[in-house]
Symmetry: D2
C-alpha cells in the first residue's frame, strides 16, 4: 500500500472518530479550538511532502517548541547545559513541582516544563527576550524553509495571565539558584516561545533536520541530532513516553495544542495535529494516527 | 576501520582502565568476582561473531534475564500482562518501593525489580518453579543455539539469603493483590532466574532474536520484538535509561552482575561484561564500551 | 452535670447512632465483630471507675498495644531506642512504606506500624517471643490490676496469614539493617502483641499509669510518662493525630479493633470502643465520644 | 527553687553556651543579627513578669505571627477556614512544595508556609493589605497591652526581594484555586506580617490570651484557645514538632528570627529568643531553654 493511500485512510478515519479527547482548557485561547480538526503531514527523505486532513491549518505548537530551543541551547552551550538539567524521564506529570523538590532544583529533563524553562533561561543569558525569540523564529523558519511562521500574541498573552503553575516552577528554580534571569523575563520568553503557530506541513518540514538524511537542512551536527532524538524518545511525551515508544517506536514530541512531531531517522519527518488530548496530556487522535502510520510503514526504529 | 579492530581497541583500553566502578556487594556470591574482567561479543546479521577480552568467561546475567522472561510472558499472556505492570520509565531506583506505593501496587515497568517479580509471577501461574525455570533455560538455549547454559545454584542461594528488599517488594505486591503465588514461591523462581550464568558470546547469540533480521532465530513476532526493544530503550537501565539512550542510542538491558545486552536492530546483538558498577547500578566500563562501539559504528537507532 | 450522667448520655447516643463507620476487614477475624457495639470506661484519679455501654465486652486492642511495648522498650533501652526510630508525626498513612524509603529505614515514630515493629524487635533482642509476650502480659495485667487478660490466638493467626503489608515493612527494615531478628520472628511476636483482648474497663485501668497521679500504678518514671503522652498526642492517631488533638485535646492511641485509650493527666484514663472505623482508620464513634467527653468535662490539656 | 532563680540560671548558661546554632541567612536583613543574643520572658497567671538576658531587645517574630493571624482568621471565618487548609503535621520541611502537590493545593496545616499564606489570603478578602496589617498590629498590641509594636520595613523589603520559594508556593496555590488574591498582594501582606519586631517581654505578654486563665486578655473564646494551642503542639515547630512535644511538652510556635512562644495553659506565657537556628530551622538555644524551663517547673501538659 502506498503512503499517500495510508495517509488518506488515516485522515478519513480520524476525521470521523467519535472519541476525540479533551481540548486543553487551562489556556483560555486554546480552549476555543475546534476539536473536529485533524491534520497530518509527512516530509520524506526524497523531498516529497504528503498530507491529509487539515494539514495547512495553523495551530499552537506549544511544547514542541522545546525541541527547537534545546537545539539552540546545545549549539550555544554544548554539554554545559547538562549541569542545569538532567536527561532522564521524569516519572511524573509534565508540570510536576514535586520531582523538582526531590531533585533540589535540577529538572529531570529538558522537555518537562521546569527543564524547558531552564533551557530558555540558558539561552536568554545576556540577551533580550526579543533577540532570543527572533533567533528561535529564524531557526524554525530556516528549518522549515518558510518565512511565514509567527508567534500568536493572543495565545502568548493568554498563557501569561494564567500560568501560575509555571510561575511557581520558575520561582522555585530561582530559589534553588537554577534560574539566572528574573522569573518574569524567562517566563515571558517561554510563553512566547510556546505560542508559535505552525501548520502540519510547516512542522513536518521544520523537523527534517532531525532526519539526519542527505539533502535535509543541516542545522546541528549528526551526533547532536542523535542525542535530541534520544531525548525525544525517552522524554518527549511526559509520563507517556514509554507508551509512545512501545506503540509507535519513533522519537516524538507532543504539545498541549494537540500537535506531535515525530522523526523516522533517515526516512521521514512527521507532523500530526488534533486538539483533543488524552489523560496524559498528549493528542488523543494524534497518538493513534502515529501508531497506525508506524505500523503501516514499518518505520519503527526498533526493528 | 573494521569492526574487529574496533573491538580489539575497546578491549585493550577497557582492560587497562584504572577506574573500574564498584562490584555489587549485596549479593555475597557476586562480591567475589574479579573487577579486572572485561569482555565483549558482537553477533552480526551476517552470522559472524566478533569478540574481545573475556568473552568466554561465564558471569551472572542477573536482570538481563528479565528480557527473556518478558518475552515468554508476552507469548503466554499477550497484552493482558499490561493490566498488572506498566510501560513507563520509573524515575526512581531499580528497587524502589516508594513508587510502588504511589502507584498502588502496579509496578511502573517490567524491568524494575517489582515489575520483573510480577512478570515471573505471571508465568508461574499453574506451574511449578522447576517447569518455569526449565522453560526459561530452553528459551535462552534455543536463542543462543547453545545447550551449555545453566543456573548457578550458589548465586541463587546467595540471593535467597539476602534478598530482603525483594521480599519486601513481593509482600507489598501481594498485599495489593498483584502477586498470585506465595511470595516465597515467586521469589524463589525469580532468584533462580537471575542466577543464570552466561558468557558474552552466549549472551550476544541469545540476543539475536531481537535483531529482527533474516536468518536470526525467530522466537517472537516482529511486532513483539519492536515492543521489547522499545521497553529496553526507555526502561532498560533503571534511572539511567535516558542517559544510555543519549550516549549509546541502542535498546539495552543491564544486570548487577556487570553485563549489558544491547541490540542494533537489523545489524547486531551486542553483549558486554565488566563487573564494576557505576553509581546508577549499571556496569561502568560496559556502559563506556557500548558508547564507544555505537559511536565507532554509527549503529544508533537515532540517525 | 455529673460525669456518670455524661457517660450515660454518650452511651445512649452512640448506641443509637446510624452512621457507625466501617469495621476493618483486612484481618478476617476482626471483620466479624458486631458494629453495633459501643462501650466506654473512665478510671478517675480518686479510684472510681465509671462506665457505659459494652464496657465489659472484650475486644482486640491491636495498635493500642504499642503504648505498652513502648513503655517496656524505653525501660529496657532508654534513649538508645531513638537511634532506630524517630519521634515525629508521619504525614502518611499508618502502614506507609513510602516514608520508610524516604527516611532510609528509620520509621518516623513508634506508633506507625514500621516503628512499632522496630520497637518489638528491640525488646526481642536475646529473648524468645514467648518471654517477650509474657513480659507484655505481665505489664498490662499489673497496670490493670487484673490477671484475666489474654492473647486471642485466633486473631493472632488471622493476622499472620494476611499480614503481607507488615511482612513487606519488616523485610524492608531488615534490608536497611534496622531489624535485628528474622522478620518472621519479630512479626510473629508483633502479631501476637496486637492480638491482646481487653474490655474498656480493663483498658481504662491499664492506662492509669499514664495519669501521673498519686495512688496510680507507678510503672514508669514521671518524666517517661510525660514523654509517652507527648508521643500519643502527636502520633497516636496516625494521619489524624492533629485532628484528634484539635477536637479532643488529650493524648490518645487508637487501634483498628475500634478501641481508643486516652489520658487526662492527673485526672482520668479513658477507654472507648466501637468497631466501625472512619476513613483515617480510627474508631468513628469512639472519636466522637472522646470529643464529646472532653468538651463536657473540660479535660483538654490545652486550657 | 524559685522561678526567678531558674530564669537567671538559664540566662547565664545560654549566654555562655559555645554552640549557638546558625543564624538564618536567606533573609539578608536577618543574617546580620548578633548570634550572642539570648533573652527569655515569662508572663505568669498572677500578673508577674520575670525575665533574663536580652528580654527587651526587639527581634523579628517571623512565623510566630502565624499564631496571631490564625486567631484573627478563625474569628472571621470560623470553621470555614478548614476547607482551605488542614490540621495535620506535615511530615516535611516548613517550606515544602512537594507535600502541596501531593495534597492538590490544600496545605497540611496553618503553620507551614503554604498554610500561613492561605490564612493571610483568607483575611485579605475584600480588604487592603494596609487594613489587614493594621488589624494584626491592633490584635498584637491589645494582647500585649503595649502600643510600641511595629513592622520593620527593612525586614519586610528584604523578604520581598528574596522570597522566591514563597512566591513559588503562592503561585502554586493560585494554580490550584486556593489563593483568592493576586500572589503579589497576598505575599506582600505576608512578608509584612512576618516582619513584626517584638521583644521577649512584649511577646510573652502577647501570648497571655492563650493561657486561658482568669484576668488574662480575652481575645478569643476558650474553645478556640484550646484549638490554637492544639495546633501549636502538633504543628508549631515544623518537622520537629514531635520532638518539641517530647522534650518540652508545651504548645509552642517558633520563627526563623530565633524566637519561640510557648504556653503553659493556666500558668504562663513564655517567650524566648536566640537567633542561631538548629538543623530543623528552630532556635537552637531557645529550644534548649524551653526544655530546661519545662523540666524545672514541671509545666508540661503531659503530667
Amino acid at each position: 500500500m502506498d503512503l499517500a493511500a495510508i495517509l488518506q485512510g488515516i485522515g478519513a478515519d480520524m476525521a470521523a472518530a467519535p472519541d476525540r479527547g479533551r481540548v486543553a482548557d487551562y489556556i483560555p485561547e486554546l480552549a476555543q479550538v475546534d476539536p473536529a480538526r485533524f491534520g497530518i503531514a509527512v516530509a520524506l527523505a526524497d523531498g516529497r511532502m504528503l498530507t491529509a486532513g487539515d494539514a495547512t491549518v495553523p495551530f499552537s505548537i506549544q511544547s514542541i517548541s522545546k525541541v527547537f530551543t534545546l537545539a539552540i541551547a546545545l549549539g550555544r552551550l554544548g554539554d554545559q547545559l547538562w549541569a542545569r538539567v538532567g536527561r532522564e524521564p521524569s516519572g511524573h506529570a509534565f508540570n510536576s513541582i514535586l520531582q523538582l523538590e526531590y531533585e533540589k532544583g535540577i529538572p529531570r529533563n529538558p522537555f518537562i516544563n521546569a527543564g524547558a524553562i531552564v533551557v530558555t533561561d540558558a539561552i536568554l543569558a545576556g540577551h533580550a527576550p526579543r533577540e532570543v525569540l527572533g533567533e528561535l523564529l529564524t531557526f524554525i523558519r530556516t528549518a522549515a524553509g518558510d518565512d511565514d511562521i509567527h508567534i500568536n500574541q493572543r495565545v502568548a498573552r493568554s498563557e501569561t495571565e494564567t500560568g501560575h503553575r509555571n510561575m511557581a516552577l520558575a520561582h522555585f528554580l530561582r530559589a534553588h539558584g537554577n534560574l539566572l534571569n528574573p522569573p518574569e523575563k524567562t517566563l515571558g520568553t517561554y510563553f512566547h516561545q510556546c505560542a508559535v503557530d505552525m501548520t502540519c506541513t510547516q512542522l513536518a518540514r521544520a523537523g527534517r533536520f532531525l532526519m539526519a538524511a542527505p539533502g535535509m537542512p543541516h542545522l546541528v551536527s549528526p551526533s547532536r541530532v542523535r542525542r535530541i532524538n534520544a531525548l525525544m524518545m525517552t522524554c518527549g511525551h511526559y509520563d507517556a513516553s514509554g507508551d509512545f515508544a512501545y506503540r509507535v517506536g519513533l522519537p516524538g514530541k507532543s504539545g498541549v495544542g494537540g500537535g506531535i512531531l515525530a522523526v523516522a531517522p533517515g526516512r521521514a519527518s512527521i507532523a500530526v495535529w488534533s486538539p483533543g488530548l488524552n489523560d496524559r496530556g498528549n493528542s488523543h487522535l494524534g497518538s493513534l494516527a502515529m501508531e497506525r502510520l508506524a505500523r503501516a510503514t514499518g518505520w519503527s526504529v526498533f526493528g
